[in-house]
Amino acid sequence: MKKPNIPIPHAEFKAAALVAGTAALIVAFVLYVLSARGFFEDTQRLVLVTDNSEGIRSGMDLSFSGFPVGRVNRVELADDGNVRILIDVPTKDARWLRESSVFTLERSLVGDTRLRAFSAILADPPLADGAERPVLRGDAGEQIPQVMAAAKALLENLERMTAADAPLNAALGHLQSVTARMQGRYGALAGVLGSDDNAQKVIAAIDRSNALLAKADARLFGAGGVVDGSQAAVAELHGLLREVRDSLRRVDAILADAQVVAASARGASADLGALRSEVEASVRKAGRLIDEINAKWPFARDTEIKLP
């Protein structure tokens, strides 16, 4: 670079202004970054305990309802093997964290790990400084091996199903042969019955049945058929029934006469009772008369009983 031939006016002032401006920008930027990192904020400590610190880094946010309310200060390994995540929560934002708050650590396949706080009951007591809370982990990456195993099993099943000797493949082959038969002359009937011959037999049977039905119709309902004969028989039966009805009417009259005769016979039976009484009285009189004759008769038997 060539030295200037003309002196630069106010060169020292300009140089000092440039240096001062640059220094001011640097100091302002450093202060801005420190402020952005919460260096000048009053904070309280929250310790989250988990069993895996993957994805957690210093400076990441703890969010509540999508708003950052804390920042991870550092991550350390405890004596019991658990991970302790030390979080600085600004005092002005600590009101969103309560004793009943739940903390989650979510890892997605793409993007950052997220620390979230959920406070369902904001009326609960506020979270104390230095409180320790467990973290519920939701890791999409951890599901990948299970998903891969399931997918592998599914693919193996699919491979078995589509193998040359697989039942599904055979069934599809059978279905294909059935549908191929159904495309023939006799359609679905050939597909169901197995061949065109069988379908032809069924159709022939149907034809014969139709012919038989036509003949039966002629015999049943034609002129001089069974139906006509039946109608004549019914008419004849009707006349016969009329005659039977007349006969029954006459029988009814005879029965009425018989009833009258029976009543007369019942009166005659009462007279016979008196006659019987008289006859019995006459017989008893005749018996007493014979006894008296026998008593008086010399040939009467000695009926006296002699005691020894």
């Binding site: 030295k3 200037p4 630069i8 060169a11 300009k14 440039l18 640059t22 920008l25 801005y32 210093s58």
Partner: protein
């Protein structure tokens, strides 16, 4: 070769290692002289002020314009790409990391190195400037140029970083104040202590390298010229060394940030 430049150090065994060692030796001398309070006489301050005005203030408008355009294009590309992939939340952090932390300090160093002219690593001589700033050590003009280059690199990187932050905010949130809280949060997340220290150290090393390496190569160039070597080839030699140093510094900063 300028008559006011550093006296050529005694040439040791030839070879790339010896060359690098001589360069480091002279660069250390230049740095030590720059930081020496005894060197900062009124004449030296005047010379430094002139060189700062020549080197930094003249390059500032052009570099501000070019870095602003570069920032605008990169912010737009990153934001649009992030939106198309549904990753808008990462756009701002990516832009800040790429521009402010990585690209702009390197761009500032290269701009100062190239705009200053590596061939004129040492200023032209005159009777006044041949006076050593420190007796028996560094000429004043050379010292002024070293300081001016370092100041230029830091100033350009700082201003370009500030403009890039402003453009990134406008590119992501637009002309609204409601994104300041989220923007501040993202800046705080990007600039963790390691990144902040890495950025500061990297910019400082860039400034030192751009200021001292071309001047430190000058005695060698003089010796090479005396040996009949072409001056253009020696300038290319200094350029390669400066780029190698810049790449080494950038690599070290990346290692510090990501490993």
């Amino acid at each position: 070769m300028n008559g006011n430049a550093l006296p050529a150090p005694p040439r040791g065994p030839a070879g790339p290692t010896a060359g690098w060692w001589r360069m480091l030796h002279v660069a250390a001398l230049l740095l030590a002289a720059s930081l020496s309070p005894a060197a900062w006489t009124r004449a030296t301050r005047r010379a430094v002020a002139d060189q700062v005005c020549l080197t930094a203030l003249r390059t500032l408008p052009w570099f501000t314009l070019l870095s602003g355009l570069l920032s605008l294009v990169l912010v737009h590309i990153v934001v649009v790409t992030a939106q198309s992939y549904g990753l808008t939340q990462f756009a701002l952090g990516t832009v800040i990391r790429v521009l402010v932390v990585e690209l702009l300090p390197l761009a500032a160093a290269l701009f100062v190195a190239l705009h200053g002219g590596l061939a004129d690593a040492a200023p032209a001589a005159d009777a006044e400037d041949e006076t050593p700033a420190v007796t028996g050590a560094i000429p004043r003009a050379l010292l002024a140029q070293v300081v001016a280059r370092a100041v230029a690199v830091v100033a350009l990187a700082t201003l370009a970083g500030g403009i890039a932050l402003l453009l990134a905010y406008l590119g992501v949130y637009g002309f609204t104040p409601w994104g300041i809280a989220a923007f501040t949060r993202t800046v705080g997340q990007v600039f963790d202590p390691i990144v902040l220290m890495s950025l500061g150290l990297k910019t400082a090393l860039f400034a030192v390298a751009v200021a001292t390496v071309p001047a430190a190569c000058d005695p060698e160039r003089a010796a090479d010229a005396r040996a009949g070597e072409a001056a253009a080839g020696a300038t290319l030699h200094a350029t390669v060394r400066l780029f190698a140093v810049l790449i080494a510094v950038e690599t070290l900063s990346l290692v510090a940030e990501f490993f």
